[in-house]
Amino acid sequence: MFGQANVLAAGQAGFPPTVDDFYLPSILPWGAENSYWFTKITAMVWIAVGVLIIFFLASYRNPQLVPTKKQWFAESIYGFVRNNIAVDMIGHAGVRFAPYFTTLFCFVLLTNAFAIIPFFQISPNSHIAFPAILAIISYVLFNYIGIKKHGFVKYFKNSLIPPAPWYILPLLIPIELFSTFIVRPFSLAVRLFANMFAGHMLLLVFTLGGFAMLSANAWLAPVSVLSWVMTIALTFLEFLVICLQAYVFTVLTASYVQGALADEH
């Protein structure tokens, strides 16, 4: 890290940071530029999956009626998503979606959290591939649930035809079609991706900016320090964004499922 800092201080890293800073060299094969199978990003995804599986299996290996501390913690994560998202949004029928929502919430939260965890310091969700996968799953999920519950024709009738006077329907139906079936997956994916991308970019700007000013002129050192203080402050902001975006992604998925299950528009 200090080696990297020296490199940065010596002005070898570019300022301002670019999109290419998000595409790190491959780990296996080492240093390859356009090989994406095993990079820091994919490694972090696997680590997140491994950590979550190990945590939940270990804390729920031997569940007790009166929980241990670890079991209580695992239960409160599930209980939070189950009661505050699934049941709140969908009602009692939401309990059967709670396992997926919890998995989704934990995965997004942990992969987001990599953005501010030392030595990881970039979130896999700043690559649109991962939010896109989750958004596509949500999209398929709510459409599948809706079609399964109402049947194909009734589901689309429910979704597309709002209870409005007939003369306004020609205007409303295209809007409904566009917003429900086209925009939703994009907005879900892009919201998460853009938040994590922008967060990483902000931290890069202030961190690299400090080094850039220091290397440009030693008299700018106080400003560099200010820049790094800003980095710390922005890390706290980033923490807020991390939690919020994980919550928002899960809540929106639950809301879409609720809309698909609803009887009337």
């Binding site: 070898q12 599986i53 939940f56 709670a98 995965f107 649109i128």
Partner: protein, 179 residues
């Protein structure tokens, strides 16, 4: 490389186009995560929640059952106690009545006994009196005859016995006395 890219301005990557390799890796990884957590962890949590609810509700139900049983027992005991009280009162009344009866019996018997004793005494007295009267009569007769004999100077005993003079006299005396 970074430096060159920054200089070049145009990036080699478009951040809005997903890398297909990452889509594959992410899908597989997320599928594994979903499979494990949704199959082995969260259903068991749901079971634990249910077990906990059952335990609490079962406890409440058991407590209610115990309460009901206790109430029923209390009611039963109260009924038994009231019954016992009634029984006791009845027994007391009976005993009192019995005692009264016994007292009356004893009194009656005692009265009867005393009457009998009195009667026996009276009878004995009467018999005694009769005996005495009879003896007296004989004796008085004899004495009177003896006396008269001494006065008259001859034995009147056979004569008096023969004619029943003494008896007659005494009877007359008695009837006069009785009158």
């Amino acid at each position: 490389m970074y430096f060159l890219a920054a200089e070049g301005g145009e990036s080699a990557h478009n951040p809005i186009i997903p890398l297909w390799q990452e889509i594959v890796v992410g899908s597989v990884a997320f599928a594994v995560l979903c499979f494990v957590l949704m199959k082995f962890v969260f259903p068991r949590m749901e079971q634990t929640f249910q077990a906990r609810v059952d335990a609490i509700e079962g406890g409440i139900k058991r407590a209610e059952a115990a309460q009901a049983e206790a109430n029923q027992l209390l009611e039963q005991y109260r009924a038994q106690l009231a019954e016992a009280r009634t029984d006791a009162a009845k027994i007391r009344d009976d005993a009192r009545a019995d005692a009264e009866g016994i007292r009356q019996d004893i009194l009656a018997k005692a009265r009867e006994e005393s009457d009998r004793v009195i009667q026996a005494g009276k009878d004995a007295l009467a018999a005694e009196r009769a005996t005495i009267v009879r003896e007296l009569r004989t004796e008085v007769g004899t004495i009177a005859v003896d006396l008269a004999s001494k006065i008259v100077g001859e034995s009147l005993a056979d004569e008096a016995r023969r004619k029943g003079t003494v008896d007659r006299f005494l009877s007359g005396l008695e009837s006069t006395g009785a009158r």
